[in-house]
């Protein structure tokens, strides 16, 4: 029992106390100058309640101990104290408390991300059920819009976390030969912040239904939370804004930690040109997260102020709907949003580029083809991605004279992306390809992401974008990049590093069934969604013209297949984690550093810090031939 103090249990208790205290204090003592949002609270009370919820959580899990030991100039924690905090000999309980070991944080992130993806997938299931046939099938539009918003935002939060979180924390430090992240306590803190953020986020559907403002409860905005509608919509928006600001805070803390780790903690001999591509991808993503997230945080902060203090950053006073004096500008919201929002999709996909290069190199038994070009591709995308956000404004009426320039940058970004394809094809070519589950997912990245990329070129062209913008074509396009690109790589990464992270092998047979279900379901569903988009179906509608019925019906049916297959893959992860085959230290014969450590990885990763002497994945003709000679003639089975 003593081990539970402090743990997430005490954190949860203090968090709930904090929320009740905060919201009730504001309601009873401060009162409100905006309309009461419910029987017992106001929106200001909500925000203060959430803030105390967050602080109560941090106090409860003991995360604030060290800032205060520093403030009071108490004894600095020595190595033993650090090791205790990293969960030495703590057993399973270390996963349920504030633990600084980067491997524990990585596992915590992995579980949280899977939960988030699960809830997001549930949203997808509900959306596709509603859209199966024209007409209002399941929900009122109020509920539908809230589901759309939550599906979008939750999936975005999950996808921006699912490489930097689990793999950036667990794998990257070992890959570069470090004992831990640069700032282990901040690392634990960045996860600890994400937990209350997700809890607050998942509470969105419970706010504000039946509120008599005529605009519905929940959040009716879509994940883009554009200007005035975010001010106007139900109270769920306050929860969303608070949750996403917290998640952004977590993302920034995590990103800076990753950047610092990669810059300063590489093992001797691990030059920049010797890092595996995964490290490059996560480095680029962390740069984007550190520099871009603030923009969205500002957007949400202004929305919160618009909502609870009646400022008018986004609401113009036209038409008698003024909040305050008016004078706000909706384009400000869009630009703040997309300055984050566009780098953000590259943030999702850059680690995917890196991971897919590494996986392909390992399972082709070849060095990465044209390594420098791959790095150039990743970093090129990273830089150019800050210059393209205006393509989301092509039809907004803002600065149409800039369109030629943003059209150029948007099309230009396909050039560095193309480098990655060259690297992948070159690595595959004349390799000695071992078709494992991670390799299959990595290959599926090739054909899925090329469709995503090519449809992106369609959208980058202004005359076409004018027709396709805001329609299902866009939805299909970004699902092709994020699901077909990033999520496939996430599945590849899970399968690839599963032995190292859990000590067990992921079940191949179940994995293969899930793989083909995912590929078929995904491709048919979203190719058919392209058709719906070409036909002229707008995004985010609860109901649609019968003209789009066929395309939507196909999409729904195959989306169900996709969701079922992903569920099977999740089941596979759980069942293999619990009862899978025990893994050896290096089941793939990979050459990067994380596979040279024993499984499970000991607390400080390395007995002795290794010295790196060559670029990654230097498979040579001799080693590969020796390996081939040691294998059974599997060719008979194939031929």
């Amino acid at each position: 029992m003593r081990k539970l103090f402090p743990s997430y249990l005490t954190g949860a208790i203090l968090a709930i106390i904090g929320y009740i205290a905060g919201s009730q204090f504001v309601y009873h003592r401060i009162g409100s100058d905006n309309q009461p949002a419910g029987p017992n609270f106001t929106e200001q009370g909500m925000v203060v309640g959430f803030a105390l919820f967050f602080i109560g959580w941090l106090i409860g899990i003991g995360a604030l101990k060290y800032p205060f030991t520093w403030l009071l100039a108490l004894k600095d924690p020595d190595h033993e104290e650090e090791m205790r905090l990293a969960g030495k000999d703590a057993g399973i309980i270390r996963y349920f408390k504030f633990t600084t070991d980067h491997k524990v944080v990585g596992i915590q992130y992995l579980v949280l991300v899977l939960i988030m993806l699960g809830f997001g997938g549930l949203g997808a299931l509900l959306i596709r059920s509603e859209l199966m046939r024209p007409g209002a099938l399941l929900f009122p539009t109020e509920t539908y819009n809230t589901i759309v918003t939550m599906h979008g935002m939750l999936m975005i939060l999950a996808t921006i976390t699912f490489f930097i979180g689990p793999f950036g924390n667990f794998i990257v430090p070992i890959m570069i030969g470090a004992r831990d992240m640069a700032f282990p306590r901040l690392n634990a803190l960045s996860f600890a912040i994400l937990v209350p953020a997700i809890v607050i986020f998942l509470s969105i559907p419970f706010w504000g239904y039946g509120q008599a403002n005529g605009y519905g409860g929940g959040v009716q905005t879509g994940w883009t939370v554009y200007g005035p509608i975010a001010t106007q919509t139900g109270m769920g928006m306050t929860a969303l804004a608070t949750a996403v600001i917290l998640a952004g805070f977590s993302s920034i803390l995590g990103a800076v930690n990753v950047i610092t780790t990669i810059i300063t903690m590489r093992a001797p001999g691990m030059r920049w040109t010797r890092m595996p591509m995964t490290v490059w991808g996560i480095f680029g993503a962390a740069l984007l997260a550190a520099l871009g997230t603030s923009s969205f945080a500002v957007d949400l902060l202004l929305i919160l102020l618009d909502r609870i203090y009646k400022t008018s950053f986004f609401a113009a006073s036209t038409g008698g709907n003024a909040v305050g004096a008016g004078g706000g500008n909706a384009w400000l919201s869009q630009n703040l949003f997309w300055f984050f929002g566009h780098p953000e999709v590259y943030l999702i996909v850059l680690p995917a580029f890196g991971i897919v290069c590494d996986v392909v190199a390992v399972f082709s038994r070849k060095p990465i083809f044209s390594y420098k070009m791959g790095v150039l591709g990743i970093m090129g995308v990273c830089v150019v991605s800050f210059l393209v956000w205006q393509h989301h404004e092509f039809v907004s009426g803002w600065a149409p004279e800039l369109r030629f320039w943003y059209m150029a940058t948007t099309e230009l970004i396909s050039v560095p992306t193309g480098f990655v394809f060259l690297v992948l094809l070159g690595t595959l070519w004349r390799g000695r390809i071992w078709m494992t589950l991670p390799m299959m997912f990595a290959l599926s990245f090739l054909w899925n992401f090329v469709i995503g990329g090519l449809s992106g070129v369609f959208l980058s062209d202004v005359p076409l974008d004018v027709q396709l913008h805001g329609g299902m074509f866009v939805t299909a396009h970004f699902h092709y990049t994020i699901v077909g690109g990033a999520l496939m790589c996430f599945f590849a990464a899970v399968a690839y590093w599963f032995p190292k992270m859990t000590g067990r092998m992921l079940d191949e047979k179940l994995g293969w069934i899930a793989f083909w279900g995912i590929q078929i379901g995904f491709n048919v569903a979203f190719l058919s969604m392209f058709i719906a988009g070409l036909q002229g179906m707008p995004r985010r509608v609860a109901d649609y013209d019968p003209a789009f019925a066929t395309a939507n019906f196909i999409t729904s049916i195959f989306a169900f297949l996709l969701i079922a297959s992903v569920a099977l893959y999740f089941y596979n992860i759980v069942i293999s984690w619990v009862a899978g085959k025990k893994a050896v230290a290096n089941p793939w014969g990979a050459l990067s550093l994380e596979w040279q450590t024993p499984t499970p990885v000991p607390l400080e990763n390395f007995e002795e810090i290794p010295v790196v002497t060559s670029a990654p994945f230097q498979y040579t003709q001799e080693t590969v031939e020796a390996e081939a000679a040691a294998e059974p003639a599997a060719g008979q089975a194939a031929g």
Partner: protein
């Protein structure tokens, strides 16, 4: 990366009889893959050219009813044609490698090392492609902006939750909730919003422009085919966004004159959704006024 403590990679597979002899190096894999690529591309292009003229009648693209539609469709054809070889480039070479160099075929592998030429060629080709697409798109860019045209009809479009209002300032501010346009006369839409952001989209005309509160945006098109089309809202605007659409009637100039003169008295607002009545019809008037009335009083 090798370090002192790392032994050479040990495959996890159990020992067994030696693998089959490696594929003879003489097989020209690149040529084979290139042929497959060329065949796939050719077939796809032929199929595309056969299908392309019919997509409108099959309902895959909206009816082409304005001067803008044809341009958009042309751009779309060119982009698709250029995408086909790129797509097959990746899929065929990737797929070929996955099959031909599979270790089940007993290859030893590891011989295709980077040449300096290939990346350079790749960069040049991708730049050329992108530049072509860019220049090609650029040549259409000006036509996206609002054109004055000859004797244009001005229509003021006002988006509000959740319907469109149209007024015709050249005809005594005649008002309507359905859009009626004369054929073959340029139209300029001045678009505004009274509450939140909407997006004015006529798929058949190939035009879309956001309605931004507090700002006026413009877009233009010339309807060229008589018929009934639809205006949709393409930006999530709240509760009944899905039902925010209204018909567009493109009629002859004479019919338009008759109609527009009959509209001089503003018609009562009614959401004439073309396909479905929502379960709960928005009680617009009451709702619009009640939004944050308390704060208006204080501000």
């Amino acid at each position: 990366m090798d370090d002192a403590s790392v032994s050479p990679p040990t495959p996890p597979t159990p020992p067994g009889p030696p693998a089959r002899a490696a594929t003879p190096a003489s097989t020209n894999h690149i040529a084979r893959a290139a042929i497959i690529w060329a065949v796939c591309t050719a077939i796809a292009i032929v199929v595309f050219l056969l299908v392309a003229p019919h997509v409108v009648e099959w309902g895959i693209l909206p009816a082409a009813a304005s001067n803008r539609s044809d341009e958009i469709n042309t751009v779309m054809w060119i982009f698709t044609l250029l995408s086909i070889p790129v797509f097959f480039m990746v899929v065929v070479f990737g797929g070929y490698a996955a099959f031909a160099f599979n270790r089940r075929r007993g290859r030893a592998g590891g011989t295709f090392l980077p040449s300096r030429r290939l990346p350079v060629v790749w960069i040049i080709i991708s730049f050329v492609l992108v530049t072509f697409l860019y220049v090609y798109g650029l040549s259409f860019l000006n036509q996206v902006n609002a054109q004055e045209g000859n004797n244009p009809l001005v229509v003021n479009v006002t988006g509000e939750q959740w319907l469109w209002n149209f007024s015709y300032p050249q005809y005594g501010n005649a008002q309507s909730t359905a859009l009626e346009l004369p054929v073959n006369r340029p139209v300029i839409f001045h678009i505004q919003s009274v509450d939140v952001q909407h997006s004015f989209w006529i798929p058949a005309f190939g035009i879309k422009q956001d309605a931004v509160p507090g700002e006026t945006t413009t877009i233009s098109a010339t309807p060229e085919t008589i018929g009934t089309y639809v205006v949709r809202c393409a930006e999530l605007c709240g509760l009944y966004h899905a039902y925010m659409e209204t018909p567009v009637y493109v009629v002859s100039a004479g019919d338009f004159d008759t109609w527009v003169h009959a509209q001089v008295t503003p018609v009562p607002t009614s959401s004439s959704s073309s396909f479905i009545q929502p379960n709960v019809l928005p009680a617009e008037a009451a709702n619009r006024a009640s939004w944050r009335t308390s704060s208006v009083a204080e501000g």
